[in-house]
Amino acid sequence: MASDQHLLTYFTTMDNQGGIIVRDAPKLDLDLYISNYQGRTRFERLLLIGQCSVPLCVDALKAAIAEAKSGKDIERYRDAWECIRIAAPNEPEAIFDQAWVTATEKANKAETHRLEAELKGYKNNLVKESIRIGHRDLGEHLESIGDLNAASETYIKMRPDASTQAHIQDVGKHIISIMLQKGDWAGVSGNVNKVLINMSSEQQNADQPYHKIVSGIALLGSGKFYEAAKCFLETGDSTVAQQYNNIINLNDIATYGGILALASMDRLELQSRVLDNSSFRTYLELEPHVRKAVTMFVNGRYSSCLEILESYRADYLLDIYLQKHVSALFSMIRSKCIIQYFVPFSCVTLDTMSAAFAKPGESFEAELVSMVKSGALNARINTIDRLLVAVSVNPRAAMQKKALDAAKNYEKEALERIRRMSLASAGLEVKGSHKASALGGSGSLPGVGDIWYDNSRTQPASGESVA
C-alpha cells in the first residue's frame, strides 16, 4: 500500500515535469530486453523505463542503479538514485552509497590525470600515432565518466593526427556516439556525411549498416520520417549491424523501419521496399508482429493492422528513440488507413467506417471532420444521409476556372504595374524623412537613376582588368 503511494507521488512529479507515463504493461521482458544491448545505452534505456513505465518502474530503476555502479559515471548513479529515492524509498538501493561515490570519484580523477600526463608525454615525443591514441584513450575515459563535452572536445583533437581513412572514420564514430547521447540530431547527420565523403565505395558498402542506422536515428529524431524509414530499410547486412548494439539492436531496426514505413509510404512502396526487401526480411523475422502489421495494411485489412500496432504501443513508448514520436506516427498511420480505406469508394456510409475504425469512447466523426478540414481526406460529410462522399474532380471546370483566374490576375497585375511606374515617374512615392536619407550618406535627393548609372559604369571596367 505504502509503496503504491510512493509510486503515485513519483509519477505525479514525472507528469508535472512533462514526462510520458505508460500505464499498460509492455510485452517486453526487462532482463531479456536489456541483455540485447551493450555500453552506455543500457543505462539510458533502463532509466527511461524507470521514469515512464508504471509496472516496471522499480525493477528498471534497480537495474539502472546496478548498471551505474558497474560503470564509473557518478552523475548517472545520482540520477537513478534521485528517482528510486522517491519511487521506492524502502528498497536497499534507495540508500545513497557515499562510499562508492567517493571512491569512484577519486579513481576517476586519478585516471584522468594519468591519461593527461601520458598524453603530454606523447606530445613531447611528437609521435603522431601515439598522440592520436592518447587523445582517444582520454576521450573514452571522459565519456565513460559522463563528461560528454570534454570527451567530444578530446575526440575532435584526434583529427589532425589521423593519417589514414580508418582513423578518420574512427574519429567520426566517436564523435557521433557522443552526439547521439546528447540528442544532437543535426550534428549526427552532418558528421555521417563528412565521413562518407572521403570513402571509397567498397568501404561504404562495408560500413553501410552503421551509417544507415546512425542517420536513421538522426532523421527520426528530427522528425523526417520518410527519409528515416528509407535508412532503416537499407541497413543491409544484419551480422554487421549486430555489432552496433551499443546503439540499437536488430529488433529495433525492424520496428523502426516497419513503423516509419507504415507512417510515411504508400502501399506500393510498402510492398516493394519492406515486404519484398530481402535484406530487411532478416530483421522483420525478429519482429513478426511488425511484418504482420505491414502485410495487413498492404492487404487492406486496416483495422487489424491498427489493432496490432495499438497492442504494442506501450513497448514503443518505452523506447528511447521512438518514444517522442509514437503518438505522431500512430496518428499518421491511422489517418493513412482511413484515407486508404476510402480510396476505392465514391461514397461510404459513416456507420461502416466507424465500425472499422472507431475507438471505444471516442467520436469517430470528429476525427473525420478534422481530417477533412486539414485536407488529408478529399471528401465531404453528408450528415443527413450519413455518408462520406468523395469530391469529384471536374478537370474541365477546374481548367476553366484556372483560365479565368489567370486572365484576371494578369489584368490586375498589368494595371498595377503601369500604375506604379506612373507613380514613380511622377515622383509621387512616399519619401522617408530627410534624416534617414542623410544617414544613408547620399546627397539630398539621390536619384535612383544616378546610382544605377555609376554601378553600370564600373562593371565593364572591372571586366576589362580581369581580361
Binding site: 450528415t383 486572365a407 498595377e416 515617374s425
Partner: protein, 483 residues
Amino acid sequence: MDKLLKTDLTQGLLDNAVYDTVVKNHVQKLSDLLKKNSADIIIHGQYFLELLNPSINSLSYLAVLHTLLIPGVATTIPRETLLEKLVLFLLTFDPVQCRYAGHYLQEVFHLAGSSDLLPPSAGVEVLAIAILRLDPTGSMLTTSHIYLARLAYNTNTIEPALQVIEKSIVFFPGMANPTEPRYLCDRDLPPSAYISKETGLTGILKSTNVMEYDMLCGLMYCSRRDWAKAHVAFERIVSFPTREGGVSKVMVEAYKKWVLVGLLSQGRLADPPGYTSASATKYYGSLAKAYTTLAVLFVADDAQELKAEAEKSASVWADDGNTSLVREVLAAYQKWRVLGLERVYSKISLPEIRRQTTSAETGQPLAGDDDVEMLLQNMIISGMLSGVIEKNDDGTAFLTFLSPSARMSEQDVARELAASAGRLKQLQPLFKATRDRLGTSKEYVRYAIKEKRAEKNNEPDPTFSFDVQVDDEDLMGGVIATG
C-alpha cells in the same frame, strides 16, 4: 462679336494640322475679346448663352460662362437659368475643343464640384459625366477627380460618382518625360498626353492627394457594402510605392481598414501584396496590432473570444473611426463560419449548423433553427453562399452545398472568358502610351546603349570561367584539414 463667338468649331473632316491652327486662332481672338469686352459679355450674358450652341461653339460658350461665373456670379441672369446653362454645357461640351482652354474648363469643373451652386446630387452627376467626356478612358487622375470624390463622399451621393471611381487609374499628372503632343486636337492621344498642368486640364497632385482619392473610393464602397472593391481600393494605399523607408499616416489608416474589409470580403487576413514596401509592413505590424489580433481570432472557432477582443479594443476602433466596420466584422463572423462548413460537409442539418457556429455579436449560438434558416436565406440571396435549404421526410431542414462546377454553365464561362479577353484588349492603349513615354526617356536610351555594349563584351565571359576554376581547386584541397 456675335460672328466671332459663333464660329463653327466642329472638327468634321478637317485635318488635325488645319484644325489645330483654326482653333488656336480662335482662342487667340477670344482671349483678346475677353480682355477688352468682358463688361459687354456680362451685360448681354443671357443673349450670348441663348445664341451659342454648347456642343458646337464650346470654346465661346465656355468663355462666356467663365466670365459670368468666375470669380463670382456677376450677372443679372436668373440663377436658375444660369445653372441650367452650366449643366447643359457640362453635359454636352465638345471635349476636343475644350482641350485648348484647359484652365477655364478646370475652373468651371471645380465650380460645379466644390461650390454650393448646384445641389450635390446634380453636381456629382454632372461632374462625373463631364470628367468622362473629357477622358473617356478615365485612366488619368486629375484634380477634378479629387473634387468629385470629396463632394460625393461628404454629401453621400455615391451612386452617380461610381462611373468615375470604378475606372482603374494608371496615369498621374506630372509624370516624367511627357511627350509634347503635336496636335492637341488629335483624338488618338492618350489622356496622359493632353491632360497635364501645361494644358490646364489638371493641377499638380501630391502623393497625399492620390491616397486621399483612393481612401475616399474605399470609404464610398464601404458605405455601399461593396467590400471586395473597397478592399482593392485600400490595398492600393497599403501597397503605395515608397522610397527610403517612408511611410505615411494615411497608409497605416488604410491598412487598418484594409484588414477589416479583407475579413468581410475574403473571410481571412490576406498578406499585403508582395510589392508592399518592407518598412511599411513593419509599421503596419506594430501600429495595427489590435486589428491583426482581431483578424487572427476571426478565422478561429471561438466566437466569444472574438467578441471579447472586439470589446476590449473598443476605444481603438472609436479613435480610428472604425467602430461600424468592426461591428460589420462581428456580424459577418457567423456567415464565414457557415461557409467554412462547406469544406467539410456536403449536406448538413440546420440544428447541426446551429450547434457548430456561434454568433460573434452575442457570443452565443443562434436561438432557434428558424434564425439559422433566416441567416442562410440571407446568405443565399446575397450570393455569398451557393446552396439550397431542403426538408427531409421527417421534417428536419438541411442545407445542401452546391458543387462549384454546378455554379457556372458552359455559356457563363464562355461569356466570362470573352469579357476578360475584351478587358485585356482594352489595356493595349495603356501599354502603348506607357511604352512610348518610357521608351523615349533619356535614362532608358542610356540603359539600352549600355546593355548592347555589355552584350558585346560578355560573349566569352572571362570572369565567369576564371571563378569556376578557382572554386574547383579549392574543392580538391582543404576538405580533410577542415573536416
